[in-house]
């Protein structure tokens, strides 16, 4: 995929997943302001030709909102484990649906990971440099990046 294709595909996948399972609409026109992202999740798609790592960072407010929407409870009723679990599902669905157009049988989806970012160690301005920024209700809500590592040789 060339740059514009992956960007288009990723936008479509994120929108569909958020609208269908998390009852949330996001826009990709929001300007990155270096919002303090609180959670990160990641999934790796591996194949013989290489590996694609999709990484997602979201604000605490956005994470809490989509978690509550997913499991159908008030935001006050959810804990950290619920948030990390929901974010794993989110990145899992992004990876799975991004993976669909890949015809190669050898591409396989890894186990999703999610964790709370150490805010003290977060570098300012790290967001918005590469990848896609998205917003919700006019505010920056998350950032998704995609890294492709090509295999020189050997099995994927």
């Amino acid at each position: 995929m060339i740059m514009h294709q992956w960007e288009r595909a990723l936008k479509d996948v994120i929108s569909e997943v958020l609208e269908t399972m998390f009852f949330t609409v996001v826009d990709f026109e929001v300007e990155s302001t270096g919002a303090p992202f609180r959670y990160q999740s990641e999934i790796v798609i591996s194949g013989k030709k290489g590996r694609i790592a999709i990484s997602l960072r979201v604000t605490g407010q956005f994470a809490r909102m989509i978690t509550a929407n997913l499991i159908g409870v008030d935001e006050e009723g959810i804990g950290e484990a619920d948030i990390e679990d929901a974010l794993k599902e989110f990145i899992n669905m992004i990876g799975g649906n991004y993976h669909v157009p890949m015809k190669d049988y050898e591409w396989s989806l890894g186990i999703p990971q999610a964790w709370e970012i150490d805010l003290a160690g977060q570098e300012p301005g790290i967001t918005g440099s590469t990848g896609l920024c998205f917003g919700c209700f006019g505010e920056e809500a998350g950032y998704v990046s995609l890294q492709y590592h090509e295999m020189a040789d050997g099995p994927g």
Partner: protein
């Protein structure tokens, strides 16, 4: 008639979503059992009467492929319909699941009506007069 359901998914959130989706769909749930992987599901099923299994594929310890192979490999549980709810998009892998004996699959993200449509088909349109099949001997239910 209500159905005893086993949901197998390592995500607690997804297990909650599936339960709520079934309830919204009008699916009459009897016993509702949950397991976080295939191994746990097999252990949980011993001595229990299950009408339907909804399972994820990508799970730690025992994934969906190993689970269905173990389940379909021996009586008395080999006739229980298994529907996979998964992010897996590779058609070859999904076909492999069907070849292993899956009754169907639904890809995430899903809408409640998709679940209802497939389960209606798998369970005989929730017909109260539909035969339930044979219960395994010695089961306590």
């Amino acid at each position: 008639m209500s159905y005893n359901i086993l949901v197998v998914d390592d995500s607690k959130s997804m297990r909650m979503v599936i339960r709520k989706t079934l309830e919204i769909s009008g699916f009459r749930i009897g016993d509702y059992l949950e397991a976080s992987n295939g191994r746990e599901a097999l252990d949980l099923m011993e001595g229990k009467w299950i009408d339907l299994i909804l399972s994820d594929i990508h799970m730690p310890v025992m994934d969906g492929f190993e689970f269905i192979k173990s389940l379909k490999g021996k009586a008395p549980n080999c006739d229980i319909p298994v529907v996979f709810i998964t992010t897996e998009g590779n058609k070859d892998r999904l076909q492999d699941l069907m070849d292993c004996g899956a009754s169907g699959y639904i890809r995430k993200p899903f809408r409640p009506e998709e679940i209802f449509a497939l389960l209606s088909q798998v369970m005989g349109e929730f017909d109260d007069n539909a035969p339930m099949g044979k219960s395994p001997e010695g089961c306590d239910f």
